[in-house]
């Protein structure tokens, strides 16, 4: 693996070929916020909070740092007017779903995002896909998946698999940046193994 020299926020950063901008930045102690990124999972590039400004091939554009591979002489800005403005808008769009999520609130403070910019949406989930991908890639169980597309996209447990696999696992719970995952699980729980739910509710 050859070394690649690039510039992030005015600093020379050394990276290995095949690394992403995010990995290179983190290795140099430069912070880039993320929501859908997890070290154990393949980069996904869905939340777009990690966008940075990159000058490559004679043009400047916003790229997702979690996916964009480092290139020689790449010039990256992790904070700029454009980056901040874009992150603020993405946060405001997501806060319409999960106004109380701590991860979003912290970022909202940093970028001046208004959690009430858009009316509250019914779905709490921000579709970061951490639970779905963790279950697929790490646990290899596929007990939870995405359904439908566009504005109707949702996550859902698959009762047939969940009833066998989830009760003793629940490793995805702490990954969720909102409280939606547990809610979805409890719904499935009630459907898939009512015995357990009754036991919990009555304390027996």
């Amino acid at each position: 693996m050859s070394e690649i020299l690039l510039q992030i926020d005015g600093r020379e950063v050394e990276a290995k070929e095949g690394m992403t901008i995010l990995e290179a930045a983190r290795s140099a102690g430069i912070f880039i916020p993320t929501l859908c990124h997890h070290e154990k999972l393949d980069p996904y590039g869905a939340c777009r909070i990690c966008v940075v400004e990159a000058d490559a091939g004679g043009k400047t554009s916003l790229v997702a740092s979690c996916l964009y591979p480092v290139e020689k002489n790449l010039v990256v800005r992790t904070r700029s007017e454009k980056v901040d403005k874009t992150r603020k808008m993405i946060l405001e769009l997501l806060l319409a779903h999960a106004p109380d999520a701590p991860a979003l609130q912290d970022l909202a403070k940093e970028y001046g995002a208004d959690k009430d910019r858009f009316a509250k949406e019914s779905l709490f989930c921000i579709l970061c896909g951490l639970c779905v991908r963790y279950c697929t890639e790490v646990k290899k169980k596929n007990a939870i998946g995405f359904f439908d597309r566009g504005a109707r996209r949702e996550i859902s447990f698959i009762p047939e698999i969940a009833s066998k696999e989830c009760w003793n696992c629940k490793e995805c719970f702490p990954l969720c940046p909102t409280s939606y995952l547990q809610a979805a699980y409890h719904l499935t729980e009630a459907l898939a193994f009512p015995r357990h739910s009754i036991k919990c509710a009555t304390g027996k």
């Binding site: 590039g45 869905a46 939340c47 777009r48 966008v51 554009s61 916003l62 997702a64 996916l67 964009y68 591979p69 454009k82 403005k85 874009t86 808008m89 993405i90 769009l93 997501l94 319409a96 858009f118 009316a119 949406e121 921000i126 579709l127 896909g129 995405f146 439908d148 597309r149 566009g150 504005a151 109707r152 996209r153």
Partner: protein, 642 residues
Amino acid sequence: MPRINSPAELEEFRKDIISKRDPKRPCIAVCTGTGCLALGAAKVVAAFKEELKKQGLQRKVDIRETGCPGFCERGPLIVIHPEEICYLRVQPGDAEEIVSQTILAKKIIDRLLYVDPITGEKIVRESEIPFYKNQMRHLIGNNIKIDPKSIDDYLAVGGYSALAKALGQETPEQVVEMVKDSNLRGRGGAGFPAGKKWEFARKSPGNPKYVVVNADEGDPGAFMDRAVLEGNPFSVLEGLTIGAYAIGSHEGYFYVRQEYPLAVENVTLAIKQAEEYGFLGKNILGSGFDFTVKVHRGAGAFVCGEETSLLRSLEGKPGEPRARPPYPAVKGLWEKPTNINNVETWANVPLIVTNGPEFLTSIGTKGSKGTKIFSLVGKVNNTGLVEVPMGITLRDIIYKVGGGIPGGKKFKAVQTGGPSGGCIPEEHLDIKVDFDELKKVGAIMGSGGMIVMDEDTCMVDVARYFLNFLTGESCGKCSPCREGIRQMLKILTKISEGKGKEGDIELLEEIAEATRDASLCALGGTAPNPVLNTIRYFRDEYEAHIKEKRCPAYVCKDLISYHIDPDKCQACMICLRKCPAQAISGGKKQIHVIDQEKCTKCGTCFEVCPARFDAVRRLSGVPVPPPIPEEARMIVRESKQK
């Protein structure tokens, strides 16, 4: 079935086919493309067959069921060869007269001809009809000459000579150079140079390599690729085979929408026939080159027209895009180097190889060469499929080819590039149609959808329509696209309902910018175009909706009312009877009044009120006058008073 083993054998075989065909023998070509089929072309074909049988002419006159020549507006269409007589709106009942008069007695039937709306002149030959005369039909011109289910027909018009030339006389590198020299740019929308793409895929390390036809045409109102695949699938297949040879691929795919059953059928059959003739399979034309092709049916997701989504879908995974780089030329189908081009791009390849790159470079503008197929739809007289040289003006397409706006209405805008495109107003109608010029005015070439809009179109409603389409067609993976479109649609809906607020336009622009800049794929990257573009050119309409609660085009139902002018109403009862909501009260000699509570604003009363009375008014942004008192509603006619 013969298997053709060399370019020389192909030419022998072609000669044989042509020699068996008498060019003077009458042939009735009936368009059986999807448009004409919907208008009853199958019954027309049956009627002709029946008629020829009745008159004992089956062996003397041919019937050919062809693909779409483009003039869908006037279907079912027939063209009688060799005279090239074009009849429009042919019904099964016309078959007898056409056979006895035109075929036997060589007489033209006037009433089935095209009539020039300006001069009133009747036009006999297909190529002289203004709709066709102003086109340059290199790709769809053969549609009316061949039966898409017959490879012999394709060979008779010179088919597969390009493949024979490529395999017999050119190295793969030379073919790539030829396509590079032709400056062919991808016809799927982005306009990336095809030759460059081929070169990347050719040079990219990895084996096997794949070639793919993107036939996942999903823009509302677009049917260019559909017509090419239905009408001349061999041209695309030949182009694909040449591309595979050039890139070094031995396996290809057609990704066709499931909703195009005739295209799927014709492509599948074309592959089968090409295999039998030895244009696919092992050792094609004795060259040692092997190539096989499979058809994959898409399940109808707009986003699968985006190349990375298409490739994932082809792998059997959900059709969601992934970030580029790496580009498909490096990591495509099953992580292998893949070259993916649109239907029309592939169809251009045989023309380039046969006639040389100059064939393309001699047509068009500096940056865009060759022809482009558009589906011309909306408020235009001649709707249909048109192929025009790059560099033609929008005005020429709409007025010379399209025949202008129907009903004496005023032109308002033309929308190009599908849901990701933009609306171009009158002031820019003289720009040249080319990839870069369209971009400059905020639209895109796209894959070739072209929707003409007249003065009765509300631009806020147009933006809302496209965003509504996209909100269901975004894959939903990345947040700026999914959430940005959702919120923009909400704002647009509110504006069209009269609930728009000061600052909404600026908010739309702010969301649009984030969605455009931060989305994962081109769907999100271009989704704000309909919004940004209508704001750019029609900001006053947005402001009228927001500030005055007025829809200038009288489209947004929450902002309009219908009112009958009591001074003009003649109590003719027409609107009263036609009102589907029974919202109009009145009677003979009683002035009619619309009950605003019951009115559904369908506009029927406005349309049916006789022009000489002109009593129904459309109102927007002003209060509806109170109904006239019951006692004043009686109409007393002076003549009858005495």
